[in-house]
Subunit: 210 residues, 2 copies
């Protein structure tokens, strides 16, 4: 006689993952709505985008939209995070330089692509403490963990000393590339990423080489 | 008999400087209007600022305002540049480290103070090629010259090799600090400036020390 199978999650008290949700906690339908939002953002810009237009374009009910994202700013931030999600996975090439080039190339591409969305979101952040908290919680903190992971692995391989990892300025690499995308006359190129990694970030990290 | 004094400028064909204008080409009255603009920006924010409100507050005619600054975006960019003007003079301490700390401290202070204005100006830049050109011409180019001056002086003193000066990434120091001010949860502090100069920028510049 086969007894009732009790899943591990029931024993440990953990909530089993929703099969319809991705790693960010969005359902497939929500991810679809965010993709439509990004597309409309890129063609019309932030100012001319409305939550209603996204609902119409995606054949969704306005109630669904507003229940999930109470304001345009919430919706646009979520779309921005979804749009840069694939760049949120730590590379693991086995070489610090290659990992940094991979992160830099991805940040440069995404920040170039979503520059006007980022400018709009930053501007909304001036008015909204909620939006500032969401950006910190759902974006910045995650990126910090990713860079920490890459640097810790490099320290374990003996490529850098852990003393070189300074949490005060952990985001010089992505931060400068985002800055370059925001100042639209000089969007970052592959050469920007290479120069930043080889001539700035690596010499900085290796200055106290073990 | 004393002859009529002909000023040098008349002989050379140069236009004598307007005694009422400062180094940026603004008259004292214009500089005053920009100061009022900055004050209103800081209390009301970009969205609620109007050119008319600045005219009223400063007891200026609207015609004067619009003749000089055809749009709110033009006025706000000019005010931002005026507000950061004192940080536009290259320090000359005789030490590269002290020069970089001085530039970093000044950029950090001004970008913290004017963060919401910068966010609004960047957002307007998405829509306006004129504003992008003005930012490049009146702000970025000037800052580039200032940093070049400091680095060239350091190379002449033998502190760094000219090979270490890379025009592709000349603005890592100010750029990262501006980025930190724009992402409002972590505005840059004195410790940010110190870590950036000592642990990143100097090791990068000195990696090919002569």
């Amino acid at each position: 006689m086969v007894g009732r199978v009790v899943p591990d999650s029931a024993l440990s008290g953990a909530v089993p993952p929703d099969p319809g949700s991705d790693q960010c906690g969005w359902t497939e339908r929500e991810a679809e709505l965010l993709t439509v939002t990004l597309r409309l953002l890129q063609s019309h810009g932030y100012d001319r985008l409305t939550v209603d237009a996204v609902a119409t374009e995606a054949k969704a009910s306005k109630a669904t939209m507003y229940r999930r994202w109470p304001s345009k700013a919430d919706l646009v931030l979520a779309a921005f995070i979804e749009g840069t999600r694939e760049s949120a996975v730590a590379p693991n090439t086995g070489s610090l330089r290659e990992d940094l080039i991979a992160i830099g190339t991805s940040v440069a591409a995404h920040s170039r692509e979503h520059a006007s969305t980022m400018r709009a979101v930053l501007n909304e952040m001036s008015h909204s403490a909620d939006l500032r908290a969401a950006m910190q919680d759902k974006f910045v903190r995650h990126r910090h963990r990713m860079i920490e992971e890459v640097l810790t692995a490099a320290a374990e391989r003996g490529e850098i000393s852990t003393a070189a990892i300074n949490p005060e300025i952990w985001d010089v690499l992505p931060g400068y590339l985002v800055f370059r995308s925001l100042m639209s006359e000089r969007p970052p190129t592959d050469e920007t990423v290479r120069a930043l990694v080889d001539d700035v970030v690596l010499p900085a990290l290796q200055r106290t080489r073990p």
